[in-house]
């Protein structure tokens, strides 16, 4: 069941619950504006740190090359080329500054607010419709699991025709919170994003899958190579 803004406020100030089991959205700069009475969500603001893909220095993103299984060989290759391995460059824009997002440009951003979900709540991040109408998509991976604690990374893309000027601090997204079945303490397993303090990229494939797929690929390569 989706929680209304009123009950979200109650969950944030639930005195009887230990800190871990309270909903936290901090800071809320403007309570009346962000937690509107009767609405089904809390508005979230755009944070200050961004990660911009280094398009001119990369041929592609290959999740296999990002795995720990392949990391050593990647490192060797990069040392030979003398190229940095990082795929994105960091950009910090303080409140009052702005970022211009050009049509079809993709940038990682983050929410200004830190979100902490207790074990009985999950959430979805959705763009604000007024921004959506300008062509801005703020997130494609929108689920926030029970027990998560950290800022939320936003995948900002401008699908519109004209460049958009984004100011850190503006309300850009909405957090819909709902209850989950059979809550238990410590529901979330370790995630590399737990405790995130800035926009972070990650490998979309699990280490286990990467290991197995890499072995499939290696055996294919060996069969095709007549010298082996």
């Amino acid at each position: 069941m989706i929680k209304t803004a009123d009950s979200l406020a109650d969950l944030m100030f639930a005195k009887e619950k230990p800190t871990r089991e309270r909903l936290v959205v901090t800071p809320i700069l403007n309570w009346k504006g962000q937690v509107k009475k009767g609405s089904g969500s809390v508005d979230l603001r755009l944070g200050c740190s961004f990660r911009i893909p280094k398009r001119s220095q990369l041929t592609d993103f290959d999740p296999l090359l990002e795995s720990s299984y392949e990391r050593e060989s990647v490192k060797t290759l990069n040392e030979k080329d003398g190229k940095p391995r990082s795929r994105q460059s960091d950009l910090y824009i303080g409140i009052g500054g702005s970022l211009v997002l050009h049509p079809r440009q993709f940038v990682l951003g983050n929410t200004l607010e830190w979100i902490h979900l207790p074990s009985d709540l999950a959430a979805y991040v959705v763009g604000r419709s007024s921004w959506g109408r300008e062509g801005l998509v703020i997130a494609t991976a929108t689920g926030v699991h029970p027990g998560y604690s950290g800022i939320l990374t936003l995948e900002l893309t401008n699908l519109g025709e004209i460049p958009l000027k984004l100011y850190p601090g503006i309300a850009i997204a909405q957090l819909f919170v709902h209850t989950v079945d059979a809550p238990r303490s410590g529901a979330t397993e370790h995630s590399i994003f737990l405790g995130s303090t800035e926009a972070e990229g990650g490998n979309p494939i699990s280490e286990e899958d990467l290991f197995k797929i890499s072995h499939f690929r290696d055996s294919e390569t060996q069969n095709k190579n007549p010298s082996l």
């Binding site: 100030f13 800190t19 901090t26 700069l29 303080g94 200004l112 800022i151 410590g186 397993e189 405790g195």
Partner: protein, 481 residues
């Protein structure tokens, strides 16, 4: 020929100005965590423009140049151009002050903290490659170097008190360690409040001084003095007096440095509370020996004793603690006691002069330092009461991987209040020293095998708390205007 040299000399000088101007523009495009680097950059830019205008003026005025000999011309041109290398040198401070070079989230709150004690002041925080923190007062130096009338409008852009505090770049993200800045701010306060006038000179231990002077004289008499110089007409009493005079001058210099360092430590404790003490131990334990003094700094064990005394005063009547330690849990008490025990063991400082200096820093001298610093800082110090109120709440948030930038003050009325950078860092130290197992557990990590990873996460959470706290504070301030 003279005309060619004149014009060439001016042309070359203008090239230097042009290059400096291009570099200033380049630096103006970068992002800084506060306004101070750009204020300082604006001063450098205007000073450079003054020099360029001067060169343009003399270049376009042949009446000024023609009668000059080459030597006079050189002096005329260099009158201001000699400042160009200095302006270039000043740019170094800007280079390390960009957002990505510094612990950006901390810069504004630290400036805010400084202004609580020194209104109309500004500090440029920058990172540098040394594993050290340092303080450099610049305003007086700049006013001296740019004392010519033409530079006065440039100087007016700078605040009355302007200094540079440098952080170690490699520790840029270590929020906990940056409580060391309390000591550097302390240097600023010591100088600004002119505490040297109240605390110096320190009475030198007379017995130890005379004993060392006698030893020097007897060594000289034995012909073992390294210089081999002995004035044939000097009596032993003369030599004793001159040795004593030399020792007194050396000791006054050392004690002057030491008193400033100890006062800066006392300021550090008043500004940051126990967090400064813990940061000091964390930093000093890796870079210096506990009983090793230098001309510039007393041994860390002397400094720790002063800090611990300031942190743990006792009630005169009951003998009970009325200091921060009454709010420490067992782990923190054990930690502090072990370090204080380690600091009290072993031989005193090596080096005869340092040994006398140590003897001269008596309990009464330390008491005077603490009392003068306490008077200078007034009521705005970080109090035991605040520490006791904040630690349980903020610590609980951190343990649960939630930045402690604000705390609930009224559950019924749904009210929160902002915390502040000092409370956040103190709570961070409490968790770091006594509750990292719990923090790691909530990160779903095994602490024993992920210690450094957990430390890094803790520092990130603290920096985030400081950043969010500052944004909320500024947001509320605008609303109140």
């Amino acid at each position: 020929m003279q005309d060619t040299i004149a014009h060439r000399t001016i042309e070359y000088a203008k090239q230097r100005c042009q290059a400096l101007s291009a570099e200033i523009e380049n630096l103006q495009d970068k992002t800084y965590p506060s306004a101070s680097p750009k204020t300082f950059l604006s001063f450098i830019k205007r000073a450079n423009e003054v020099i360029k205008d001067y060169l343009d003026t003399i270049e376009s005025n042949p009446d000024l140049l023609d009668p000059l000999t080459p030597e006079e011309l050189e002096l005329t041109v260099k009158r201001y151009c000699k400042l160009l290398p200095y302006l270039c040198y000043l740019l170094e401070y800007i280079e390390g002050s960009e957002v990505h070079s510094t612990p950006a989230a901390l810069i504004r709150p630290l400036r805010r903290l400084l202004r609580r004690y020194l209104p109309k002041s500004d500090i440029l925080f920058r990172c540098y490659p040394q594993l050290n923190y340092s303080f450099l007062p610049l305003a007086r130096q700049l006013r001296e170097v740019f004392k010519a009338d033409v530079f006065q409008p440039c100087l007016q852009t700078l605040p009355d008190f302007f200094a540079v505090i440098s952080f170690p770049k490699v520790e840029s993200k270590n929020a906990l360690l940056h409580c060391m800045v309390g000591h550097e701010i302390g240097h600023g306060l010591y100088q600004h409040k002119k505490l040297q006038d109240k605390l110096l000179p320190v009475q030198i231990d007379k017995e130890a001084l005379e004993s060392l002077a006698s030893r020097i004289v007897s060594t000289e008499s034995d012909g073992n003095n390294s210089s081999g110089e002995q004035h044939p007409t000097q009596t032993e009493a003369d030599r004793f007096l001159s040795a004593k005079e030399w020792l007194t001058a050396s000791l006054n210099k050392v004690l002057g440095n030491w008193v400033e360092e100890l006062a800066a430590d006392a300021f550090g404790i008043h500004i940051f509370g126990p967090a400064y003490f813990f940061a000091f131990i964390n930093f000093v334990a890796t870079v210096t020996l506990l009983r090793s003094s230098r001309d510039s700094h007393p041994a860390p064990n002397i400094r720790m004793r002063l800090m611990w005394d300031l942190l743990t005063p006792k009630d005169d009547k009951t003998g009970q603690s009325i200091g921060f330690d009454r709010a420490f849990d067992k782990t923190l008490v054990n930690f502090a006691e072990k370090w204080m025990q380690a600091a009290s063991l072993g031989e005193p400082a090596s080096g005869a002069i340092h040994q006398i200096a140590e003897k001269s820093i008596t309990t009464s001298v330390v008491g005077r330092i603490c009392s003068e610093v306490s008077n200078a800082i007034g009521e705005s110090r970080y109090s035991v009461k605040k520490y006791e109120e904040d630690m349980p709440v903020l610590g609980d948030l951190i343990k649960n991987v939630i930045p402690p930038n604000e705390v609930v003050v009224d559950f019924e009325k749904q009210k929160t209040r902002n915390s502040d950078v000092v409370s956040i860092l103190n709570a961070g130290w409490n968790v770091y020293l006594s509750e990292m197992q719990e923090f790691a557990k909530n990160l779903k990590l095994a602490y024993e095998t992920n210690k450094l990873k957990c430390d890094e996460r803790l520092n990130k959470v603290l920096l985030k708390a400081v950043e969010l706290n500052e944004i909320k504070t500024r947001w509320d301030e605008i609303g109140n205007d």
